[in-house]
């Protein structure tokens, strides 16, 4: 039995597909935070399980650790995204890391299994120095980049993800979910997760899209920052 196509069937089909592809609801930040925390806990469990040193004690110790993680809420001290963003105001205390051997898209600096990118060849943002700090009860490492007189800091914070600011704008690009806001000093701040860690890019830039571009860059999928 043949069915007559309605007029403009192709256009009608295309309109629906285009609408659903281009516009839609985003996962609310609170849901995102809950799931990322669950993923992080699962990853921690997996790492413990796979560790040869701990394999013999896996049963008792992992159970106790998991139980503690569930029962005792984690203390963040005063570790906040804003405090991490402020680290880009500090002085550099170490020289800039060199490009990683054999992986020119990355720097030879890595913190908590997250490698720092080498944006010099692609975007002109060259690493000029770095520093390490404590943010509340967390460790943090910052690499500073410069381009045409502007400076930004890329900070990776240890431990489970920090809660994002409530008033941040959400942007998704190349599969990277970036939260954007402007701090009281007028600096643009971009917050995203990489390898389960909170990453903060901040500085005085002409456009916040610069930070989105840098945060979401994966070299067309060729760069794995956590490998």
């Amino acid at each position: 039995m043949s069915q007559a196509l309605p007029p403009n069937a192709y256009e009608r089909q295309r309109r629906v597909a285009r609408t659903l592809r281009d516009v839609g609801p985003m996962a609310p930040p609170a849901l995102r935070a809950r799931i990322e925390e669950a993923i992080e806990r699962a990853e921690q469990r997996r790492r413990r399980f796979l560790s040869p040193q701990r394999l013999a004690l896996a049963g008792a110790l992992a159970s106790a650790a998991i139980a503690l993680a569930i029962v005792v809420p984690g203390r963040d001290g005063d570790a906040t995204v804003a405090a991490a963003a402020d680290l880009s105001l500090g002085d550099m205390s170490m020289p800039a890391p060199k490009p990683a051997a054999g992986r020119p898209q990355l720097l030879a600096a890595r913190f908590e299994d997250v490698a720092f990118p080498n944006w010099g060849h692609k975007f002109g943002w060259h690493a000029v120095g770095m520093r390490t700090d404590d943010v509340g009860d967390r460790r943090a490492e910052t690499v500073f980049y410069e381009h045409m007189g502007h400076q930004i800091g890329y900070t990776v914070v240890s431990g489970r993800p920090l809660a994002p600011p409530d008033d941040a704008t959400h942007v998704s690009k190349n599969g990277v979910h970036v939260l954007l806001y402007r701090d009281p000093d007028g600096r643009q701040v971009a917050v995203f997760r990489r390898g389960g860690r909170t990453c903060v890019l901040s500085g005085h830039v002409m456009s916040r899209h610069t930070l989105v571009k840098l945060a979401s860059w994966k070299g067309d999928g060729a760069v794995d920052f956590t490998a």
Partner: protein, 158 residues
């Protein structure tokens, strides 16, 4: 399945859940429960097969939670609709909201097809595997689903 890639799919999965459940609250519950189940029992998934696997898990979770039986009409809520970077500016929020309402009112087989292909972005082949039907079945259901949704969009525009 690489757990570090799981957050990358959250927005698409949330859209699928919203299309299935019709409310923000139920969609959040469904996505959270889906991730909890996937994390409890991780599977080996082929590279690039994550999204199809997650959609299948979402659909199974939705069925097991019996949301379909207790579904209530989709109600307007405060959920923010966002255009993808580089998306067509002509595809407006009004159209998208109407489209999601129309999807929610489709029969389950048609709804599954349009959610898998147009909302989540799977290929016909991936959608067929996720929904456990033939690729041709996905195409025909998708065509009918889009036709019905297009009718709703035209009614909104009129």
């Amino acid at each position: 399945m690489d757990a570090t890639r799981l957050p990358d799919h959250m927005d698409r999965l949330f859209r699928a859940a919203y299309a299935l459940c019709g409310t923000r609250h139920d969609a959040e519950d469904l996505v959270q429960e889906t991730y909890a189940r996937v994390l409890r029992r991780p599977r080996f998934v082929r590279r690039h097969g994550d999204l199809a696997y997650l959609l299948r898990a979402l659909r199974n979770t939705w069925i097991s939670l019996a949301r379909a039986a207790t579904a209530v009409p989709m109600a307007p809520d405060s959920l923010e609709f966002v255009a993808e970077p580089g998306g067509d500016p002509a595809a407006g929020e009004l159209d998208a909201r109407a489209a999601y309402t129309a999807i929610f009112e489709l029969s389950p087989p048609l709804r599954d097809a349009i959610v898998a292909v147009d909302v989540v972005g799977l290929s016909y082949k991936e959608a067929a595997r996720a929904l456990e039907v033939r690729s041709g079945t996905v195409r025909s259901r998708l065509f009918r689903a889009r036709e019905q949704v297009a009718g709703q969009l035209e009614a909104v525009s009129a």
